[in-house]
């Protein structure tokens, strides 16, 4: 009974919305809005096949490489800048400025510097995604508990061990908050870099459909992007739950007390 209730809450509204959509498009032929059935049909036809290999996989690959590189650079740089006070004071205004630049404007700049290549698209993703991770890591490193830090010092835990067992774990909630922001940013930048200058990839294909007025195909592309976003968000939530298990446990204990 309880499971049924949960399922009802989970699926009730989506089913209702699809029913409304279905009945609204029933019998009418609206050029812009496909019926649910034709959308599902088109989706299968367009995306399960060669296009999956030539457009979807390379896009996902670039996204992964870009995001992972951005996370690594952001965390390493953040730990460095966060632990060295003068470096932080030196770089803070410059970093704040770079963060404030809307990442998509770097697409034309990087096209200019690197040409229209795969590495340009990865560079676009990195250049946008690195800031949330970097700045959050700096904040996280700065906020390391003073008592813990002093204890670690007293026990002679220094250097790499200090980073591994003290700094990274204490900063991880903040780092993951940054990663979450950079994931959605990465997806946006992947699409934009492909829409702007590319001959393959998801963004390119969707714009191509739109320009040739292949409306159901265009919608199916939008659905692919939506599913990608949703999948990334679920994977992230799963990873976050695992990485931060100790943290959530600690919060529960603190709240209970």
């Amino acid at each position: 009974m309880k499971a049924l209730k949960t399922l009802g809450y989970l699926l009730g509204l989506p089913v209702l919305l699809i029913l409304i959509w279905w009945s609204a498009t029933l019998g009418t032929v609206n050029f812009f809005v496909p019926t649910p059935a034709s959308l599902v049909g088109t989706f299968g036809k367009v995306w399960f096949g060669e296009r999956f290999l030539t457009d979807v996989l390379p896009s996902i690959g670039r996204l992964l490489v870009g995001v992972v590189a951005a996370i690594v650079i952001g965390v390493v740089g953040g730990v460095l800048i966060g632990s060295i006070r003068w470096l932080r004071a030196l770089l803070e205004p410059v970093l704040e400025f770079f963060r404030a630049i809307p990442p998509p404007v770097l697409v034309p700049v990087l096209i200019l510097l690197m040409g229209i290549t795969d590495s340009m698209k990865i560079a676009v993703i990195i250049s946008g995604c690195v800031w949330p991770v970097l700045l959050n890591t700096i904040e996280g490193v700065r906020a390391v508990d003073g008592v813990l830090s002093d204890s670690a010092h007293t026990y002679g835990i220094d250097g790499w061990a200090r980073v591994r067992y003290l700094v990274l774990p204490s900063a991880s909630p903040q780092i993951l908050a940054g990663v979450r922001q950079s994931l959605s940013l990465g997806l946006i930048l992947m699409v934009i870099s492909e829409m702007f200058a590319s001959s393959s990839g998801l963004g390119f294909t969707i714009v191509q459909f739109q320009r040739s007025f292949a409306i159901p195909e265009m919608w199916s592309g939008i659905v692919v992007l939506g599913l990608l976003g949703v999948a990334m968000s679920f994977i992230f939530q799963w990873a976050e739950r695992n990485i931060l298990r100790w943290y959530h446990g600690q919060k529960e204990v603190e709240n209970a007390a």
């Binding site: 004071a89 030196l90 803070e92 404030a100 809307p102 034309p108 699409v191 592309g221 939008i222 968000s233």
Partner: protein
């Protein structure tokens, strides 16, 4: 009396550290300025020394000169105006819609549970996926930018409002109920003040996102504004001009951040004071 003498051995280094920190306060700003100058000098040197061709990366001085020229041009300010108009309208619509829906959904347990899966599904959909749709529906007009901006900023605010409404203190709410406050009065005097800090965080995040989407829409779709100017400058080979516009967008981003923090501080001025009184 003897305790200062006893702890003096321990206090000395702490005093020294404290002293050092006091001296560091003005140096922090100086270091920041030094950082900016260092960045500009590096930028100036990279093309001058031929590490990157000056045709692709003009020296900083040239770009700043181009920005100064831009500041005197009406066309530049028109583009800035268009961008800011899209930013403001989009943000305003998103905030209004999110606040209204957030309070409705948040105040009912049933609605919150029923909408959760849909919200979690729609939220991660990247708003740039709507670009083709925006082009078809509105073409290269401000409505295209608005569609993207509203979609992206709406979720930022809605999620925060939902958290905020959920944070309402049950004791306060029940007290208000006991004193005979109606539903509207409770929303006004209990729920709204609780949710306001969350709402302001959402608005601040949405402000940054809205600028990104405004520029993106202009860049990719070509609706009027700074983004379109950047795309035009790039395809027209006005390289210093393009870099100058990129700098301008960064400055606008900084200004929006500062503005948002200021508004947040002003609207929540009562907040910390109220809280500290409660604690006392």
């Amino acid at each position: 009396m003897s305790s200062p003498a006893l702890t003096s051995g321990g206090a000395a280094p702490r005093g020294e550290r404290h002293h050092r920190r006091v001296r560091k306060v003005p140096t922090k700003q100086l270091l920041g300025v030094a950082g900016i100058l260092g960045f500009l000098v590096t930028w100036e040197l990279i093309p001058r020394l031929g590490i990157i061709d000056a045709r692709y990366l003009p020296p900083a001085s040239e770009v700043i000169a181009a920005l100064v020229v831009d500041l005197g041009l009406t066309a530049f300010w028109v583009a800035v105006g268009e961008t800011m108009k899209a930013w403001f309208l989009g943000l305003a619509i998103a905030v209004a819609a999110a606040v209204l829906l957030g309070f409705i959904i948040g105040s009912s347990n049933f609605l919150r549970k029923a909408t959760n899966s849909t919200v979690e599904f729609l939220r991660p959909i990247p708003s740039v996926a709507l670009i083709p749709l925006a082009v078809l529906l509105f073409g290269v007009k401000i409505e295209s930018s608005l569609l993207l901006i509203v979609y992206a900023s709406f979720w930022q605010v809605l999620i925060q409002v939902l958290y905020g409404v959920a944070d309402v203190d049950m004791v306060a709410n029940n007290t208000a109920k006991t004193y005979g406050l109606g539903r509207m009065a409770r929303i006004r005097y209990v729920v709204f003040p609780t949710a306001l800090p969350y709402l302001m965080t959402g608005v601040r995040l949405a402000g940054a996102v809205a600028l990104v989407l405004a520029i993106t829409a202009e860049l990719v779709i070509g609706s009027p504004g700074l983004g379109r100017e950047i795309a035009l400058a790039q395809s027209g080979g006005a390289i210093s001009g393009m870099y100058a516009l990129v700098l301008a967008t960064g400055l606008i981003g900084v200004l929006i951040n500062v503005l948002m923090r200021f508004i947040e501080k002003k609207t929540l001025a009562w907040h910390s004071s109220v809280r500290s009184e409660v604690i006392v």
